[in-house]
Symmetry: C2
Subunit: 248 residues, 2 copies
Amino acid sequence: MTEHTEHTDDQSIKHPYYPQDATINGYVVSSRSSVEILVSLALMVLAVLISAFVIITRTNSSRKTQARGIKLGPLSFADKFAVYWFSVCVFIHLVIEGYFVYFNKDLASRSNLLSDVWREYALSDSRYLTSDPFTVIMEAITAVFDTAMSLLVVYGISNNSSFRHIAQICCSLAQLYGNVIYLTTNYFENFKFTHPDPYYFWFYFVFMNSFWIFFPIYFFFSSWYQLSNSVSISNHVVYSSPKNKKSI
Amino acid sequence: MTEHTEHTDDQSIKHPYYPQDATINGYVVSSRSSVEILVSLALMVLAVLISAFVIITRTNSSRKTQARGIKLGPLSFADKFAVYWFSVCVFIHLVIEGYFVYFNKDLASRSNLLSDVWREYALSDSRYLTSDPFTVIMEAITAVFDTAMSLLVVYGISNNSSFRHIAQICCSLAQLYGNVIYLTTNYFENFKFTHPDPYYFWFYFVFMNSFWIFFPIYFFFSSWYQLSNSVSISNHVVYSSPKNKKSI
């Protein structure tokens, strides 16, 4: 953590964010406590996980019946895990990050749960309350592209679609790319955007974001392996067919 | 273009970059003219294109002989185009952008062709001479990840590897992601990093970068289509095999 000078008695400080001279327009205090905000967020994620469970159950049920003359088995553990993960990603990218992108100009002055979520998270990174260009653009790409890809993954698993692993590798790569630049730009600036309280740095900035480092790495390599296998099988079929014996 | 005030008589100006108050350490004037720099760069790209031509010729030659009992035809126009494009990408990402990443701290004070290239390009974007955190990180990802993926594409086409289109879609997505954020962050700052001369804005900033917008879009969709086809064929084979008739 970078060193910060505390100015608790300074009347000029109008917000709790770092750097302390950051311009945050129309800042109002959240109407909910940190615990209320985190519990609300956790309940929303729980609702998404329950929805994902329903999707998995319905998918397994439909796979028991004949599909194109072929009986598919139940979803593997890896596929179920992907439905849970990418469903949560749809919610976070579209609802939470989409809200930030759409209202970034006056987020600090708004009064509702999602604004409270961002006022809380911004303690770990004030760029979310200052309409920092990189942050707004990266989040806009995330809210549009990563959401679309996450939806395609969940839909693709449910319908055994050929694009499932393509969407998965693209989503994971985009999540990794955005998050790595996001984390390292703050590091390059000596974490000047982060409140010095270790809770905000370790829990919000490091721990929360680490999900979007480790899971994308896993899903990236998993999809690479699956796609590479599929191409090998397909090439074998295409190059072995009689009409391709001479030339393709 | 944003409006700029010219201060041609101001003695405090020590470099030609915008914004004029940008801190550029140890700036020295390039020893080559703009034309010499552009011609040198063009000659290097020409050498890369000739190398790519040699790779294509050798690949076509080796595909005429039997490979795993299967005779492959000559490379398609699309594959040849990909070898040219990704060979140029390897050169630009590794040599030109890699040089920037490695020497970004004192690039403005160095005296050689690659420093001259960056002093020239930086007229369209001074962030390359100020070690702007986003620019350095984005270029570092490009120099490592995009170079590796470009190499895999060229190698993959030459050897008919199963990972070719996976590397191609990953490379193209990474190029697009980096370039879109790079271009739009300057736009969000009213192009304050760009010299007001239209030549620098339109030729260097817009035209040069547009290659890494349009070509990646084409290669992204091309690979998506190819991979999706391969997965469809592979799924058909796997789900139709006798042992999978009941369950996979």
